[in-house]
């Protein structure tokens, strides 16, 4: 039983990491539902483990983006003041919420992420070679407010929050899209760490699950960044959208007390 479980976790991490690198989405949004539905882990444990993977996604990719100067370090660190506070709030509030409510919230976020992915124009996230254009950051108060919300959602659901922060920076703060994506990814590490310590000390990070997953995520992120130039991102986008709708349906069904699927590993 042990070997298949460990290999399954590595594979799940590779899948999540590859999607994350190719589409900028797909770490926590895949890991939490799969851990909760397939491995039958309590949702709060799934969230704690996912936060570890979010840090892996962030640190691995951010090292490259920072070096290439796609990350706005100053903006990222200012907004981290809000996301980190939000993350702590989220990780504390989560203890008061029933699991079914969290699953419902997660299902709703999956729907939002799937729709946001459908609306994303093709090729937006892909080429990262040209120099970023000149820009002026505006709307800091709104940015801090929404970042606080993004941090809280991250701390409650174990996700990076890219689908909230990237549109915020791009549409409302005047940041070019690729800089927004790189800066959002950069912020995820500190944000997730702020809540991950709380989950860790509550005993909600199972290392035997988190470590193989995170190894897979690192490998997947590496694989994804090499695939970026070769793969038609439209197909990946469609595939991930379908996966998200499917996971949303399962999470919402569980939230309302239905169990539609067989437990593969319980």
């Amino acid at each position: 039983m042990l070997t298949p479980v460990v290999l399954l976790l590595v594979a799940l991490g590779v899948l999540a990491g590859t999607f994350g690198a190719l589409v900028g989405l797909g770490g926590g949004v895949i890991i939490v539902p799969v851990l909760s539905l397939l491995l039958d882990l309590p949702i709060k444990t799934a969230v704690g483990i996912s936060l570890v993977c979010v840090i892996a996604t962030s640190s691995g990719a951010a090292a490259v983006y920072v070096q290439r100067r796609w990350t706005d370090l100053r903006l990222g660190m200012v907004l981290e003041l809000a996301t980190a506070l939000g993350a702590i709030t989220g990780a504390l509030v989560v203890t008061l919420l029933p699991d079914s409510f969290l699953k419902g919230m997660f299902g709703a976020f999956l729907l939002y992420a799937a729709v946001a992915l459908l609306r994303q124009r093709q090729g937006e996230m892909v080429e990262v070679t040209a120099e970023p254009p000149d820009y002026q950051v505006r709307n800091h108060p709104l940015g801090l407010g929404v970042s606080y919300v993004a941090g809280s959602v991250s701390g409650m659901l174990g996700i990076g929050g890219g689908p909230i922060k990237v549109p915020l920076m791009h549409l409302f703060m005047g940041v070019p899209l690729k800089v927004a994506a790189a800066t959002s990814n950069f912020m995820m590490g500190v944000t997730a760490a702020a809540s991950a310590f709380l989950y860790y000390n509550r005993g909600d990070v199972i290392v035997a699950v988190a470590a193989p997953l995170a190894v897979g995520v690192f490998a997947g992120a590496l694989l994804g960044s090499h695939l970026t130039r070769r793969i038609h991102s439209r197909w990946i986008r469609w595939l991930l959208t379908l996966v998200l709708f499917y996971l949303a349906a399962l999470m919402l069904a569980e939230a309302f007390g239905f169990t539609l699927h067989g437990r593969a590993l319980s």
Binding site: V52, A63, L73, R74, Y135, A193, F197, N201, P212, F218
Partner: protein, 115 residues
């Protein structure tokens, strides 16, 4: 034009890179060691207390090696904040030194709250 803080960029990138490599290596070694323990069921309990960690590491316990990797991964963003604070301070960017220290203080509150 927004200028790039040179020193902070280099230091932060290096911290993230080495934090990722080292933690990934530890978690990989731990996972491989775990694969060798086919006769025992997988332990899904909470992480072991920190004071037990050094001894278990010396015994090459897969769980201890994986836990050390996870802890190093959790600490990478914290070290990244310290590096950013120092490099902004060396570049005389007082505002961003304070911002870095502010975020660091929030994370330390989280560590403190969780004890």
């Amino acid at each position: 034009m927004r200028t790039t803080p040179q020193r902070a960029t280099a230091w932060v990138a290096a911290t993230l890179k080495w934090g990722s490599y080292l933690s990934a290596a530890l978690m990989l070694v731990g996972a491989v060691l775990l694969l060798g323990e086919t006769d025992r069921p997988i332990q899904v309990g909470p992480p072991m207390p920190l004071r037990l960690l050094p001894g278990e590491l010396l015994d090459a316990s897969p769980y201890a090696v994986m836990q050390a990797g996870v802890l190093l991964l959790l600490l990478t963003p914290v070290v990244r904040l310290v590096m950013a604070a120092i490099s902004f301070w060396l570049e005389r960017e007082r505002r961003y030194t304070l911002v870095s220290l502010g975020v660091l203080a929030i994370i330390l509150v989280s560590v403190f709250l969780s004890r």
